[in-house]
């Protein structure tokens, strides 16, 4: 599975790590829903750590889209919510 950490690029994860990430993803999700910043930070931190440590960076000349995109490692719940509403991707690179 391909995972991107915003601000850090893409990583390729094996099945074992992918399964672990899926579990952490649920924690991140629950924390965002509950608005629990502390839990969110912990869950996101664990997810980012897992991807950085077990994932292999995708080479520059390989063009793939990610199955999962993790927010910036120091993101807040507010930022994630904004990202999810319209993807406050202010700078939409694909816009005309």
């Amino acid at each position: 599975m391909i995972v991107r950490i915003l601000g850090e690029g893409q990583f390729r994860l094996d099945d074992d790590s992918s399964a672990k990430l899926t579990v952490l993803d649920k924690d991140v999700d629950a924390a965002v829903h509950a608005g629990d910043e502390a839990v969110f930070k912990m869950a996101l931190g664990a997810a980012v750590k897992l991807v950085r440590e077990t994932g292999a960076p995708v080479p520059d000349d390989e063009f793939v889209t990610a199955d999962y995109i993790l927010p910036f490692s120091d993101a807040t719940i507010d930022e994630v919510r904004k990202l999810l509403t319209d993807g406050t991707i202010h700078s939409d690179p694909t816009a005309p």
């Binding site: 991107r4 520059d60 000349d61 199955d67 999962y68 990202l83 993807g87 202010h90 700078s91 694909t94």
Partner: protein
């Protein structure tokens, strides 16, 4: 659906939308490449902007540090002169400056962090754009428009995600820089108007004014004291001492050689 999955779908939807607008698939490659080059310029400018902000904060920290040192000196001087009230005021002023300094320190670290991240993002995008350019030419040379479609879509979607990522990183850095600039502007004004110094007393640095006054008074008082001592010491030996008027010198004169000329002692 999970957060991470949803974010990835948002990115993909944006790329798909842009792809749909293209009629000739090959056009997509050139169009995308042009945008990538623009994005590279933007991210490099972003790095420069953050660096400028960081340097500004750095200068302000130096100014504040000077003020802090000045307040410390004032407090010591005031205490030496027995003016605890002034010392207290100086220390209070210093406390406020220190708070501002700590605040700036935090901002400085954040800016450094942003600068580092944006620099890395710029390098990553640069490498990706170079690879895209090569891929673009290969696709154009090797495949017919129809054959090329899948490969183009892959490359386009892939790099779109990178551009979205970098775009967000720039946005973040810009937000951070804007916040810092607003604060930095306020601190510049405070430093310039001396308002930071005026928080405690009235007027512009009244502590220093008081200390200066005190310094002048103390100088006169000291001189008066010295003269009084001199006079008291010399009283019995005025004639000898008369020569150089120095109490110390007169004290050095052996007692045996003292007054012969009945000075009324």
């Amino acid at each position: 659906m999970s957060v991470m999955k949803r974010v990835s779908l948002i990115f993909r939807a944006k790329a798909d939308k842009a792809l749909d607008r293209m009629e000739d698939p090959r056009e997509t490659l050139d169009y995308s490449y042009k945008q990538q080059v623009e994005m590279l310029t933007r991210v490099r400018r972003g790095v420069a902007d953050v660096a400028t902000s960081r340097k500004r904060v750095e200068l302000q920290m130096t100014s504040l540090q000077k003020e802090i040192t000045k307040r410390t000196t004032q407090a010591k001087t005031a205490l030496e002169q027995g003016r605890e009230d002034l010392a207290r005021a100086a220390l209070q002023a210093r406390g406020q400056l220190e708070q501002q300094y700590d605040d700036l320190q935090g901002q400085y670290t954040q800016l450094q962090d942003q600068e580092e991240k944006l620099t890395l993002a710029s390098q990553r995008l640069d490498a990706k754009v170079q690879a895209f350019r090569t891929r673009k030419e290969t696709i154009k040379a090797t495949y017919t428009a129809a054959e090329a479609q899948t490969r183009i879509n892959e490359a386009f979607s892939g790099i779109s995600e990178d551009m979205g990522d970098v775009g967000l990183a720039i946005q973040r850095a810009e937000d951070k820089t804007a916040q810092m600039q607003a604060r930095a502007g306020a601190i510049d004004e405070l430093l310039a108007s001396g308002a930071l110094e005026d928080h405690v007393g009235g007027g512009s640095d009244y502590i220093q004014a008081e200390l200066d006054k005190l310094g002048a008074t103390v100088g006169v008082d000291d001189q008066l004291e010295a003269m009084k001592r001199e006079i008291a010491n010399n009283a019995p030996k005025q004639l000898e001492a008369n020569g150089d008027g120095s109490a110390a010198t007169s004290a050095d004169v052996p007692a045996a050689q003292q007054p012969q000329a009945g000075d009324g002692a």
